[in-house]
Symmetry: C2
Subunit: 265 residues, 2 copies
């Protein structure tokens, strides 16, 4: 349990062991469904009343995980969630090498995203829109942070993720693969809907507060901006990623929009 | 302080008084900026070290709010945030009557959204995309729930909101105004990009788990679906609202997409 607490609490401990913690049955079952190795499962006596939860524990056992029943209330003190979860598990890291994303036509690059919830939402958007991978450059929050894992709602197990790498080197490599590097900018970029997004691209996302750092600017092929009706704070980086990735998906489907109801009728 | 706790904790108490609580300087300053009445402000001695925070308290005082310094640590116990805020305020409700949204060309209707964070994100999306108002029908989570207020990131003070109303009656009224009612469906609807979205519309969002209730079905003019590459859970209702509202905004700007880089070069 000390071990669990270390893995929940600290990036350093996670990176030393290359292991992290998932909290709750929903995310754990996604990990299992996606075929990730589950090393060990810890469950609270409260789970006994939850048939589905117990079945999940049994599936983890069958998949080779070690199973431990802990004293009531222990998990609640160890874990990070606002809503305590009666089951948590330890999993090995499974991020991929940068080269593994070569050939991807919709890549997302986090240069400096610091909020774990935002990074999780970005990953979730990438999955939904058909993204081929997420690269979390040095300076991004840890992709294995418990809050990120939770916010990704299982997407971590379905989209290849690269953890780390210098932003400048990453962007040079990606360009060498033929991906156009589009930097998201709160203002001053090309209106994203005017930008052709059907060729291979990498969407580059900067920090929530200050955007992309200066040293990255020369490695961006074009800045794109989402014109907004409200205040600029009204769209966070996770929502912006959704809008941009789904516009790329729209252009790639190549479907024509019907005339509006009035025009027809 | 008892009073504050009641307003934070319960919808019933909030509705009885038609008052709610905002937590933290960021949201409070948005309220002030938008010209909302701030009735009373409570601050923790920890705020004294924060020049900007104290200036905000002074602006509230100048705007007519009563100001109270509370004992250290009290706000932390009263409020709802994971990260305790050293300043909170009580504000009067300011939702509008349904009739106030007549003429809006991009309305959002929450029929059954139950998660406060999701409802806040929906409101935030609506603001960013140029939505004219949000209607929270009976059955939706309280728009004045502290978690919703927080997730809306100030949008509550910038987009007109209708709190309550039977979904069937609301949808009948809206149709009478000439707004086309589009129901968001996880599957089976028209691909949203094929749907003409330039004429006046109302985007109708159902529950996170079960979508729109049967009794609402006859009041929907067309179902729209966002085709997804990943699992259907990979997009939550807040993200879906962003994608749909921004597609409407895109069609309304009427901008043409440039050919892709390859096609040009």
């Amino acid at each position: 349990v000390q071990h669990l607490r270390r893995l929940v609490g600290g990036r350093t401990a996670r990176e030393a062991e290359r292991r992290f913690v998932v909290e709750g049955g929903k995310v754990l079952s996604e990990a299992l469904r996606a075929g990730w190795a589950v090393e060990s499962v810890f469950w609270d006596p409260a789970l006994a009343a939850d048939e589905e939860g117990m079945a999940l524990v049994e599936r983890c056992r069958a998949a080779g995980a070690s199973i431990d029943l802990v004293a009531a209330g222990v998990l609640e003190r160890v874990t990070d969630t606002v809503t305590p979860q009666p089951v948590v598990a330890v999993l090995p890291f499974a991020d991929v090498a940068l080269e593994g994303l070569r050939g991807g036509t919709m890549l997302v690059v986090s240069v400096d995203i610091r909020d774990p919830g935002n990074l999780g939402t970005v990953l979730r958007s990438a999955e939904a829109a058909g993204g081929d991978g997420l690269i979390c450059c040095d300076g991004s929050v840890d992709i294995y942070n418990p809050k990120t894992v939770r916010a990704s709602a299982g997407s971590l197990f379905h989209v290849p993720v690269v953890a780390g790498g210098d932003a400048v080197e990453v962007l040079e490599r990606i360009s060498g693969w033929g991906n156009r590097r589009l930097g998201a900018a709160v203002e001053g970029g090309t209106d994203y809907v005017r930008c052709g997004l059907t060729s291979p691209l990498a969407l580059v996302l900067g920090n929530e507060a200050w955007g992309l750092p200066d040293r990255v600017a020369p490695l961006i092929d074009e800045l794109v901006t989402i014109p907004m009706a409200g205040r600029s704070e009204s769209l966070n980086v996770g929502m912006a990623a959704s809008v941009l990735c789904f516009e790329a998906a729209r252009q790639r489907r190549g479907t024509a929009t019907r005339p509006t109801a009035e025009a027809v009728g």
